[in-house]
């Protein structure tokens, strides 16, 4: 047996060992074995460097060695191996494969060069920072110096992302109405690409620049019109959502004309939540240095809220209804049911947060029986009850508690039906995580 063949055989056996190591979770061992395999395959290929008539064996070994070099992160070596293969007389189909591999290597090398060059990285970040949304949180009642709670930061970032993704979805459908058959898949891909980045940070109490990279690393897979849309969608999102005076009805009215109530709910509810009186923080926009406040936000006035996110069309605000919180003493077996005589104290609430538990979800004729009770947080801010489930990305509000629960169940079932109707490939990462959660709590479905 020739040296080349012996080395090649050892390399292939080592690749098999590496694959076994990977399957048993030994990633370090896998990496070491893969490198050994690459070294052996490279040696086997070089044995045939001058055997130009040993085709297709010669180019197959060089191609295989180049592939292993890529998998081992040795891109320069991979480049050399492809060049050596092409230096011979590879069959035309292998030439095409080698060129494809070469392109792949060139892309990797560009990327490595890009990541290793501080000047380019700086320029890239500067580019994103120029287009970023600069936000700042400060605690309303500082208790730990000026530190803001992590929960508040996470809450704010999630809401900005939720609003942006909904904006992206709605805007794309409006701009490219009926243009694409596979629009759901396209939007899912765009959302993956548009996942916002933190491109700058400062302790101020918390200040961050948020931007998606939709314009620098432009993916080549899209047509020119989509690329143009991608380049300015975040700018338009910032204008529509953050440059609006939420206490001026005339300023908000164009938004009410531009978007349907459902679209407005999806885009603006998460943002309006950032301005709530009951929040522990103040939210503002700043300049890029986070020092100068560009815009402060106050809780949204009722006329603006009614215009922007109408509670329920045709339902009147209830008169003379108050939410009470009662304290009382009653026998343990009563389960907390209080008769009038057992109440010690009752107070009117203008805001409240409480939880309810659902073991089934119903809407029209469809029912979902849950394997474990679903706990839902309800927020009351007189006179509106609301549910903002970040986990499910369901937001509903109502003047009436019963309507609120009905609306939530309707949204839950619509969401379930919508996700169930899609293949896994069509789902975004967020949708997949929601769907997995729903599947984990839904025991059975009855129609």
């Amino acid at each position: 047996m020739s040296i080349a063949r012996q080395l090649h055989r050892e390399a292939m056996n080592t690749v098999s060992e590496a694959q076994s190591a990977l399957m048993s979770g030994e990633t370090d061992r896998h990496d070491i074995l893969l490198r050994h395999a690459f070294e052996k395959e490279r040696a086997a290929a070089w044995e045939l460097l001058h055997k130009l008539d040993a085709e297709p064996t010669r180019s197959i070994l060089f191609r295989s060695a180049a592939q292993l070099a890529i998998e081992s992160g040795e891109f320069k070596e991979a480049e050399k191996l492809v060049a050596a293969a092409l230096f011979g007389n590879p069959p035309i189909e292998l030439v095409l494969e080698l060129r494809e591999l070469n392109q792949q290597i060139a892309n990797y090398l560009d990327w490595v060069q890009f990541l290793e060059n501080p000047a380019i990285v700086h320029e890239y970040l500067q580019n994103l920072r120029q287009k970023a949304l600069n936000v700042r949180l400060k605690p309303k009642n500082p208790t730990h110096g000026s530190a803001v709670l992590l929960d508040n930061v996470v809450d704010m970032l999630k809401k900005v992302k939720e609003s942006f993704f909904n904006y992206l979805d709605i805007d794309f459908r409006k701009v490219f109405v009926d243009k694409f058959e596979n629009i759901d898949k396209l939007i899912a891909d765009l959302k993956r690409e548009a996942n916002p980045l933190i491109v700058n940070l400062k302790f101020q109490s918390f200040a961050a620049s948020i931007a998606p990279d939709l314009h620098v690393m432009l993916s080549q897979q899209y047509s020119d019109d989509i690329r143009e849309w991608k380049e300015n969608v975040f700018e338009r999102f910032k204008d529509d959502v953050f440059q609006t005076d939420y206490n001026s009805v005339p300023e908000v009215r164009p938004l009410a004309d531009k978007y349907s109530p459902e679209e407005r709910r999806r885009i603006f509810s998460p943002i309006i939540d950032l301005f709530k009186d009951s929040n522990q923080y103040n939210f503002s926009l700043t300049d890029t240095s986070f020092v100068t406040i560009k815009r402060k936000y106050r809780p949204v006035s009722k006329p603006v809220r009614d215009l922007l996110i109408p509670v329920v069309q045709g339902v009147q605000e209830p008169k003379n209804l108050e939410l009470f919180q009662s304290f009382g003493l009653a026998p343990a077996e009563s389960g907390g049911a209080l008769s009038k005589s057992n109440i010690i104290s009752a107070q009117t609430m203008t805001t409240a947060d409480f939880r309810v538990v659902l073991s089934e979800i119903h809407f029209e004729k469809q029912s979902l029986i849950l394997s474990e009770p679903l706990e839902i947080e309800i927020h009351y801010e007189k006179p509106i009850f609301s549910i903002n489930s970040e986990l499910l990305q369901i937001r509903v509000n109502s003047y009436h508690y019963n309507n609120l629960l009905n609306d939530f169940q309707q949204s839950f079932i619509e969401l379930f039906n919508n996700l169930k109707g899609k293949s896994e490939k069509q789902l975004t990462a967020d949708e997949l995580s929601i769907y997995n959660f729903i599947k984990s709590v839904v025991f059975t479905e009855t129609l």
Binding site: A4, R9, A54, P56, R58, Q67, L94, E97
Partner: protein
């Protein structure tokens, strides 16, 4: 009539591990028995060759791990193809062709006693294998598909053998491209 013992793959394909050879051999034995064949069974070989041979095998100790008919046909066909390729052509099996887009399953090289054997140039032919459980019509269709499938590597200027076995009769069709 020539006889092939299915369990003898390791001796004719030394490059393939004994465990893997036993696996293919057992799949082949179960595939044959699932179609009611008993030792010895006559195998008809058609296409570029026209002959009959006898297949022998050891009875599988358990068939509980072999319930999926497509798996049986697939792995059983590999066992038969290894035997027939080695016995009927000037080539032997080198290894699985996993990297690339050639459209075939295994690399073949000239046997060492062939005058064209070159120790350094050990990829001399292609082998594409397939198995069916649906009779002659399905087999013919599969052969056409496989001949088309190997086209991307036709420019390599080395022959391709398409070896398709149907376990109903059983029948193996061998076509060189």
């Amino acid at each position: 009539m020539k006889e092939f013992n299915i369990n003898n793959i390791k001796n004719i394909c030394p490059e393939i591990s004994g465990t893997q050879c036993s696996f293919y051999a057992e799949g082949c034995a179960v595939a044959l028995e699932e179609h009611g064949h008993k030792v010895p069974t006559e195998l008809v070989i058609d296409g570029d060759f026209s002959l009959k041979c006898l297949l022998l095998w050891d009875a599988p100790t358990s068939k509980r791990g072999w319930r999926e008919p497509n798996d049986l046909a697939h792995f059983g066909a590999i066992a038969i193809a290894f035997h027939l390729t080695t016995a009927l052509t000037e080539y032997q099996v080198v290894e699985q062709a996993c990297i690339g887009k050639g459209g075939f399953d295994y690399y073949l090289c000239f046997k060492e006693d062939d005058p064209r054997y070159d120790a350094d140039n050990f990829i001399n032919a292609r082998l594409e294998i397939s198995g069916t459980n649906k009779g002659i019509e399905a087999l013919t269709k599969r052969v056409r598909q496989k001949l088309e499938q190997v086209s991307p590597s036709d420019s390599w200027n080395i022959p391709a053998y398409v070896v398709v076995t149907d376990f109903v009769k059983p029948l193996t069709y061998i076509k060189k491209k």
